[in-house]
Symmetry: D2
Subunit: 426 residues, 4 copies
């Protein structure tokens, strides 16, 4: 979140454009829950994840709290209890329901939460009529926040349904392993000269979060980056070469975690006879060998890179390289549910945006000159700047509008339920 | 479960009576969930408790597994996956879904579980037409099993809803504290001569579980039993006298548990100003001072008894005394939701049946000559005969048909979510 | 501890006899630590166990606190800090050092603790000169208390040393498996008529703890008891028959514990090739197949009994049978370190006293009419009367003077580091 | 550890100098344990810490394993079991004793470990006679490794003794609060221009660990650094201003840790009346208000910096600034046991070396071009490069020879038992 947040693109958004954007993003959230029942939307399978119903309410609470209450005269909150139930972690806003107990909120029912969304959307339409730069800035944050939760809705329900042996049936179509895809050859690396480079943004001409700021100089030594993500076929080689059994390939914390959790393959993988399967949020599918590996921890990514004599890129290397690539790819809008194989020839940097988040070897810490924004939204990203690692590039569950080359996502090294993958560097 | 299980009463039940009983019990289960949404019926707030939807399915699975599959020719199971999902702990029957993850079963949806009940009920009606003693015995067990789960449906949902600050509103009626009730006077004790007594049953003339058998002799020394349960008013005196703060009143394990859990009052109690409140499964109500204390652990019951110079009765004393009392009281059918004050004069043994389970000082162990029943139902009670304590008499959430003077319920000393209370002995 | 404690035997002990007894018991404690270094005597390998140095100091603290401070005019405590450090669990006496941190007491050094013992012994000699019945009663308790800790010194150090792969070398003598012993034949059972029997003692003519009192009537149905303990050879048969892998043989809590702890054999057993070994507190020895199995939990004992179609005896059956047997056997004084095979013919009840404690199926609860003794010693046994099981008969680590047919020892069902075994009943 | 390790200083060390250095370092280790008994040297108060006896043996095992076994013909190991017992974490060398059980090694006794040291020292003297560059490189690592353990001997025993209420008496001298010290004024900051700077070393002319290499360029934006460490007086202001009670001052992980651990002050602080005390490894002393705060976690350091509108320096800023400062200060050799106040005027960068380690805001990750050394010592630092933070500058428990401006120490953000402090940056 910038000190002065910026509109979606360079031309200042007119009021109508902002309204359209608001409607588009909010509708997209609802679309993601279309196939889910009220019971599905109760599920919380671990403290890291939240029920889909909670996501619906919390993103709405954000607009109510940061837009309607301060800015819309005469606005009446839908239900005062929601302030407590649907606050995520904003200490300034007050007490909140304990995170691990979000799955116990059978009440309010889904129906009422849907009404809550409608109530807030109606009020927002009134507010948006009285357009101002300040309102646009805050709405923009609200929409980006909602897009972040769109991805979580998908990853959280996928995790929960994967634990119910009854929930995810086999894919109904006969699946040939990604017919159109090019079989992956040995990876090609692209060389970058590096040097003193600008990293981050000042968010003057478009939206960016606090943690992407300010734009500053970093000295990036020369490096090489693989043209694509690591594939499932390559991951199976790692497994066949006892990658999960050799402590010397692993970070010390990683080895301890892998032993304790009994990791033998990426999350969601299971084997029947000779065939490996994984799951989407809808069904069980055969593993596509040419597709990027997905749902791995930082520890696994790091061990794989060491195994093949490479390393993970830094977030600066990644951003430096990404500056030359157009921001398009396999995003939420493509509705593919899983990362996809590279389709054409193997030239150039592929899969930088979309498909799967790429673990970098950079811990999530503040940029030089980082300033916590003022006000209640001050809690946005700064307080998470410890013990987490930066991931870059977005995934097949990320809204396209959400991503840019400066975007920094972050998770703990042991987490695997996000669409996380790796790209090799040297 | 007896070696030869017996019908509901002395006169052998005719086929029609059994069918009527089947319908009555099954319908009562559904009635208990009438006020609950599909979302409510997903809730599992701790591993000890199960979702209401799971109870509906599991009790149905019992009839499918132990009646329809072995006895109804041509019966087709509703869904083979249910064998895995809705088995509770019968190792003989096969693998089962992990208990702490029952709350993750958003699928099958409630609707389908209701259909499952219908499917099994229809098949049961066919089976019951071909009446036999063997079938009657097994059906009788199934119905008693279902009645046990009726109580759990109530205690489990109460626990889950109590953790949602939004779920249980204040009682809508102004509540005067149990207007008709007699204010409790200092407790009167009734003296019993004791001697060599028969305990338990051989289940020849009516149904009883394996653990109530066989009928055998126990020498019961003379003793006195309080005419009623301990009241909320008396419990407040214990609290006012630092009952929760004096280690010498407590068992060593009890004190450790109380410290770790931060116990300061019975489960569900909370205070606003000078007024104490508790909850039912439907709303928040002022504490009725004349009503029996409820939702206490064995440790608390034991500490209270020591505090007032008494002790808990043994299960043999309780059963000896109960033989002279008619088995009626404040049961599930009265729909009171909480134990009620004694209404009339203070003479005689009151509240022996219904209102609240009474902790005894007897661990749950086998009677001399105890035999595990043969077959799959062998796992019924025997394997739980360690580290638990016997409770007697049933509660306001117990079906009346379920209870008799020989009935032994059992829970761990730290558990509080059942309707558990105490009666003093000397 | 009796309301009026009694001397060691029927003839009232003269002063000289008490002094001799005091010296004998105190010296025996020191003898048990002769082979241990100051470093060994620091070891605390789990919260259940205590360092030998702590046992030396705590038993001394007992005499200082309950004899010297109240009864010896002008007595000066050795060091006031010891009141805090060496109190075990007497809440009345004041705060105390946390049990799991007893192993952190490098100071006071062993040397100082030995001086402490001398200081208190010297003062006790003065006190004992002014003999009185009250003093004799309290000293008697102190000596019995010290004998209990003599056993714990042995079991605790054995546990700690067993975890140091370097500490326990192989036995230096070539060991033929108990050469003089009779190979165990299939067990013979002895039949007992039972009936209304007296259990416990009123401690009028000799010492007994509070929990053995009062003497009272129990109806004991007829029963049979095996003439000897279960042997290691028999336990190997249980293992060979998948005893540790079949949940239906186990109590529910027992199965959960066995899985969690990975139990596959009794504690301390390990295998090299075809040969099984166990340990003493001094070295590693081949398993004597004819000797009683030892270091098993209640859960294992119960599973074994179920496996062979028997059960564990109740503590009343055991005591009833033991009344006809002389109280002698393989005790601490024999210095055998492990239970020994039955040596002669297989007739009669063997191994009732000594060799190994026998798990009974009786939970440790108060006898009817149990009274907590008054004063500080009130905390002796009563507060442990929950969740533990009675063991009877003493072991090869028990002082002979400590045991009698009414003696009730108690441990949790999962504990294995005591010399615990089983005798079959039917 | 460098690919080619380097001698202690620029002039190549002659053989005699290396021998003298070996003797000096080894003797210093023993000197640190002079005041400790064999019992003290058994203590392990948490898995993070190790017994002093273990440190003595492990540092010796290092020379035996990496010098004597490969390089001294005919060398016979002192005891083969030590390979298992005293390996710390070198997977290549083989299995090892579990870290949390190091406190259970009463055997071998201290005496034998001292003999082990002598045995190895004697053999080392023989080896050192046949001087070679390769041997010098490995010995140099061994001595630096031993110096690291010298610090741990002090921090680990301090932690263990602090948990024994009897171990650390009051200081025997009347203590005036650091009489010679200048009362701390409001901190003065020094400005640095920054720019493209060289960080790390190639270890060509003197020893450095693998993680300090290679020397590489980093762009350091301009910054200011406080001339001294934060003092105890300033920390008390933070506490008085509810620094431990305001979540907005803390990182999210830090706040969770502080709540769970109940942090209200730095480790070892306790209060009597109005006076605060801390401990050394020898006794309890009044808090010197002008001395640097010590024994704080990264989370506390970070919260304090945020509280006063500053931040922690990066490790690059620290190293950049340190290049202009002479490497001398309050080290182990000064025998002060605690960090000391700045003594003279407040000008210039004080306390950069010695006194207390300074938390930086830099996670411990590899420098660009980092190479894991070959051979068994490959495991030196690389596998710890996750989830830990860099500390710089050494402490009052660090050997002077160990430190240089490029030295990177690292600990987890929650750890407090090291001599850790902070210096403010802007
Ligand atoms: Fe959010
Ligand atoms: Fe059931
Ligand atoms: Fe004791
Ligand atoms: Fe080391």
């Amino acid at each position: 979140m910038p000190s002065i947040a910026q509109p979606f693109d360079n031309e200042s958004l007119p009021k109508d454009k902002l309204i359209a954007e608001y409607e588009r993003v909010r509708a997209q959230t609802m679309r993601l829950t279309e196939a889910l029942s009220a019971e599905d939307m109760m599920l919380q399978s671990m403290p890291d994840a939240s029920p889909a119903k909670w996501h619906l309410a919390h993103t709405t609470w954000f607009f109510e709290t940061f837009l309607l209450q301060p800015h819309l005269a005469g606005y009446r909150t839908y239900n005062n209890a929601y302030q407590y139930l649907f606050n995520s972690y904003y200490e300034t806003v007050g007490e909140r329901h304990p995170r691990p107990q979000r799955g116990l909120l059978s009440r309010p029912p889904l129906e009422e939460v849907v009404n809550y969304r409608k109530h807030v959307d109606d009020a927002m339409k009134v507010l948006l009529e009285s357009y101002s730069a300040e309102i646009e800035a805050a709405v923009t944050i609200g929409l980006h926040h909602e897009m972040q939760h769109q991805e979580l809705i998908q990853t959280d329900i996928k995790h929960a349904l994967s634990l119910n042996p009854y929930a995810l049936g086999p894919d109904t179509y006969a699946v040939e392993s990604s017919p159109g895809s090019v079989s992956t050859k040995s990876p090609e690396f692209m060389h970058f000269k590096g040097g003193l480079s600008f990293i981050g943004t000042d968010a003057e001409s478009s939206f960016a979060y606090d943690c992407e700021q300010p734009r500053h100089q970093v000295f990036v030594p020369e490096f090489s980056l693989c043209g694509r993500l690591v594939t499932n076929a390559e991951w199976l080689e790692f497994m066949a070469d006892d990658g999960y059994k050799r402590p010397k390939l692993w970070l010390s914390d990683g080895w301890a975690t892998a032993q304790q959790e009994g990791w033998q393959a990426p999350l969601y993988w299971h084997r029947e006879g000779e065939q490996w399967f994984t799951v989407t949020g809808r069904n069980r599918v055969p593993l596509d060998l040419n597709a990027p590996v997905c749902h791995i921890s930082y520890y696994e990514a790091d061990a794989f890179a060491r195994w093949c004599g490479c390393r993970l890129p830094t977030e600066f290397e990644w951003e430096y390289a990404a500056q030359s690539v157009e921001c398009c790819g396999n995003f939420l809008e493509q509705n593919q549910l899983l990362p996809q194989p590279v389709v054409a020839d193997n030239k150039g940097l592929k899969q930088m945006f979309g498909d799967a988040w790429e673990w970098t070897q950079s811990p999530f810490i503040p940029y030089p000159g980082f300033k916590t924004p003022e006000g209640a939204l001050a809690e946005y990203n700064g307080k998470f700047m410890a013990n987490q690692w930066v991931l870059r590039g977005g995934s097949c569950a990320t809204a396209e509008q959400q991503i840019r080359s400066t975007y920094r996502n972050f998770f703990y090294a042991h987490q695997r339920w996000q669409f996380s993958s790796l790209r090799l560097a040297k």
